[in-house]
């Protein structure tokens, strides 16, 4: 009876915990330029090799290679670099302000900037974006003034959310960026509904949405995939696989035996796994998926392989659950650095220009911060009128809220 099979509960383990040697050998990588780029109308089933492989454009010598090279103008790449760098500088500055007690909470997108910036740049202004809370790069691309974002973080008198949302939960109707919930994955099937409406109205706009690999375990993911497939909705469904959902590694969301992109063909949805730290690859895959959607080819599930280089949020301490030096060993590098090296290799950029740009962006952020804090911070300066608490629950204020507003006014004297 020695070799009798037994059921045994399997508990996934990350390759390394604090004090261990970092090991990324579980990542299935392949060299840049080796994935074929099929016609955008290819069947969903035929995308399985794309969903299990890895689309990469930038090679180790910082050149763009292979069929997925989107051949974009250097000016576009420079703009992309600027947006990514701005995102990072903004994040770093806001992180510091949280440490100084000026804002209550912050979430950086460090290391994942290309996922938002490259995709937003490859889409059209009329396309609707349904982000998660680590997509601030979308706001940089679509041009929301930094002061507006900062005022939201400060919950001050110019807060777009009127003091009702945690920092980072922005929204921008005019810029076609949906309100960030703070609940996980809920935006995923909502984006599908938006795309269905675009198709019902006969418009050629597409929707795009982002969730983490961790929250792809939610039922919302499944509902979104099913609706997207059934109605062939023009939607880009992005899974940002940054390896970590707070302390839980991607194996706990189903990443041990399959890629996340491979779920796509299982649903009848095209799947593409892309190097999320490769600006050109994300740009090219977005173009492909958007064209597919606009031509009636339906949805695409895109897995961005990336790494959450910073803590989950300002309330998190990753040194308690992963090796401190893990990011240094991350095999897909840094998206800002890689695009910068590529532009330098093209002769369209230099370390000096980069340093100068970084200085300008830091100054821009500093100027915006000085302006934003004039409108108040969470603890000092002018404050939002607490009466605003009672507005926008419903379009018209119901009578019981009018009474409660009066009660609060009496309480406040």
């Amino acid at each position: 009876m020695a070799n009798r099979l037994r059921t045994r509960l399997h508990v996934p383990q990350p390759p390394a915990r604090p004090g261990d040697r970092t090991d990324f050998s579980y990542l299935k990588l392949q060299p840049a330029g080796t994935q074929p780029r099929p016609d955008v109308k290819v069947s969903a089933q035929a995308t399985l090799p794309l969903a299990t492989g890895l689309v990469r454009v930038l090679d180790d010598d910082h050149r763009a290679v292979g069929a997925w090279d989107p051949h974009v103008e250097p000016e576009v790449l420079q703009a992309g670099l600027r947006h990514m760098l701005m995102t990072r500088i903004f994040d770093e500055r806001m992180q510091r302000t949280q440490r100084q007690g000026r804002i209550s909470f912050y979430m950086r997108s460090h290391g994942e900037e290309a996922v938002s910036v490259a995709q937003a740049m490859a889409l059209r202004p009329g396309d609707m974006l349904f982000p998660s809370y680590r997509n601030q790069g979308l706001y940089m691309v679509r041009g929301r003034p930094l002061v507006d974002l900062m005022c939201q973080l400060l919950s001050n008198t110019r807060d777009m959310c009127k003091g009702r949302q945690l920092p980072v939960m922005y929204h921008w109707r005019q810029g076609k960026i949906f309100s960030i919930s703070g609940n996980l994955a809920t935006q995923f099937p909502q984006a599908v509904g938006w795309a269905m409406a675009a198709a019902i109205k006969g418009e050629d706009h597409v929707a795009s949405t982002w969730i983490g690999e961790g929250s792809s375990a939610e039922g919302d993911f499944h509902a979104g995939m099913v609706f997207a497939e059934v109605y062939q909705a023009p939607v880009l469904l992005n899974i940002v696989n940054n390896q970590w959902a707070i302390s839980t590694f991607q194996g706990f969301a189903g990443g041990e035996r399959s890629t996340f992109a491979a779920r796509g063909p299982g649903y009848g949805v095209a799947g593409v796994r892309v190097d999320g730290n490769d600006f050109l690859a994300v740009y090219a895959v977005t173009q492909w998926a958007a064209e597919r959607a606009r031509k009636g080819g339906g949805p695409t599930l895109i897995e961005h392989v990336t790494y959450r280089a910073s803590a989950h949020s300002t309330s998190d301490d990753p040194s308690r659950y992963r090796p401190k030096d893990e990011y240094e060993h991350w095999p897909l590098g840094d998206p800002v650095e890689r695009l910068k090296r590529h532009l330098i290799a093209l002769g369209e950029w230099s370390d000096e220009r980069h340093q100068k740009l970084a200085g300008e962006l830091e100054e821009e952020v500093a100027v915006a911060w000085r302006e934003a804090t004039k409108y108040g911070t969470l603890n000092e300066g002018p404050r939002l009128d607490p009466d605003l608490m009672f507005e926008d629950v419903l379009k018209d204020m119901p009578e019981h809220l009018v009474r409660q507003r009066e009660q609060l006014r009496a309480e406040r004297g």
């Binding site: 959310c161 919930s181 509904g193 019981h400």
Partner: protein, 338 residues
């Protein structure tokens, strides 16, 4: 004026709105080709096409979420959840998303979604086809909750709900679909064609949301009810020979507390009747409101009648259902007090 049962009235409301507003879409399980398991959307897909009246996958989460996305993109979805008992997979999308979108985005985004769903018991549906979940939606800030008790109100309130820029949970007491029901399952069924509220205009009209209606004026006691229990309560009061004032709440939230309290201040006595379980039921909210606003006018403790605090049973339907006997006993207790 036409004679309609509640199903026809609801169908007519959607027909009117699909005709008037190209942004209105109807979606849900079995609502398209088949016309709904209760026939409420019968003929609508044939008339308006499969892009306006959509069959959906069996996913209440997906139905609600897709409706939110559609609404944000300028449509006015009317979603059907086949039974209120099945609404819970969509509950997070309702509570955390639909209800709070306007608030969290300071009015920039909102989703005018109407969620229709058949509720209530009395149809031998057991615990998966009989629930009355109004209280768990009444507790959510940012949605309106409506429950009509007759065809006229059903059509007018559904049109008002679809036109409303706020999300509305529209609960349809399925025992009333084909006729009024006074709680006695032994009696022959009465059709809506024999009831004055079965007279329904063919065209567009609205019944205002957030307005209760006094369906029977009286002096002895105020009975506050909604849905099926409006008819049960009225019959129970009549059986006792009481001159009861019967109020149909019609909109659970936001509640028209003024109409309720004005009546109780006149009668001095109050009974609240609903089908849902009593503990934490919406009757508790009404009771507290009446007590706060009418305390010095009350001649007896406020009474509450509801379903027992158990899951809805199959074999004991009529022992469970708050029928005329339970209402009458509560009325007798209230009338003999003070």
């Amino acid at each position: 004026m036409a004679r309609m049962n509640m199903i026809q009235a609801l169908n007519s409301a959607m027909d009117v709105m699909l005709e008037r507003d190209p942004g209105v879409v109807v979606l849900g399980e079995d609502v398209g080709y088949f016309g709904g398991v209760f026939r409420t959307t019968d003929g609508l897909q044939r008339k308006y096409g499969e892009h306006r009246v959509l069959d959906t996958p069996i996913s209440e989460l997906g139905i609600v979420a897709a409706s939110i996305g559609m609404a944000v993109n300028g449509l006015r979805p009317v979603a059907e959840i086949q039974f209120a008992d099945y609404i819970y997979p969509g509950y997070d999308q309702i509570v955390s998303e639909l209800a709070r979108l306007r608030y969290r985005s300071a009015g920039e985004f909102y989703a005018p979604v109407t969620i229709r769903t058949p509720c209530g018991g009395g149809i031998r549906g057991g615990q998966t086809h009989s629930q009355s979940p109004e209280a768990i939606f009444a507790h959510v800030c940012g949605v309106k909750v409506v429950m009509p008790s007759n065809p006229y109100d059903a059509k007018g309130l559904l049109i008002a709900a679809i036109e409303d820029d706020d999300p509305v949970i529209f609960l349809e007491p399925k025992r009333l679909y084909n006729g009024p029901f006074d709680g006695d399952p032994g009696k022959p069924a009465v059709p809506w064609s024999a009831h004055p509220r079965g007279e329904v205009p063919e065209g567009h009209y609205t019944v205002p949301i957030s307005k209760a209606q006094i369906v029977r004026a009286g002096r002895d006691v105020t009975i506050i009810a909604y849905g099926t229990m409006v008819h049960v309560a009225e019959a129970a009061a009549l059986s006792l020979g009481l001159d009861a004032e019967v109020i149909d709440v019609r909109t659970i939230s936001p509640l028209d507390s003024e109409t309720l309290c004005e009546s109780v201040r006149r009668t001095g006595r109050c009974l609240i009747v609903h089908e849902a379980t009593r503990f934490g039921g919406f009757g508790a909210e009404i009771s507290a409101t009446v007590q706060e606003q009418c305390f010095w006018h009350l001649q007896a403790p406020i009474g509450r009648v509801g379903g027992w605090d158990t899951p809805y049973p199959h074999a004991f339907e009529w022992e469970y259902f708050p029928g005329q006997k339970r209402v009458a006993m509560a009325l007798e207790a209230i009338m003999s007090a003070g």
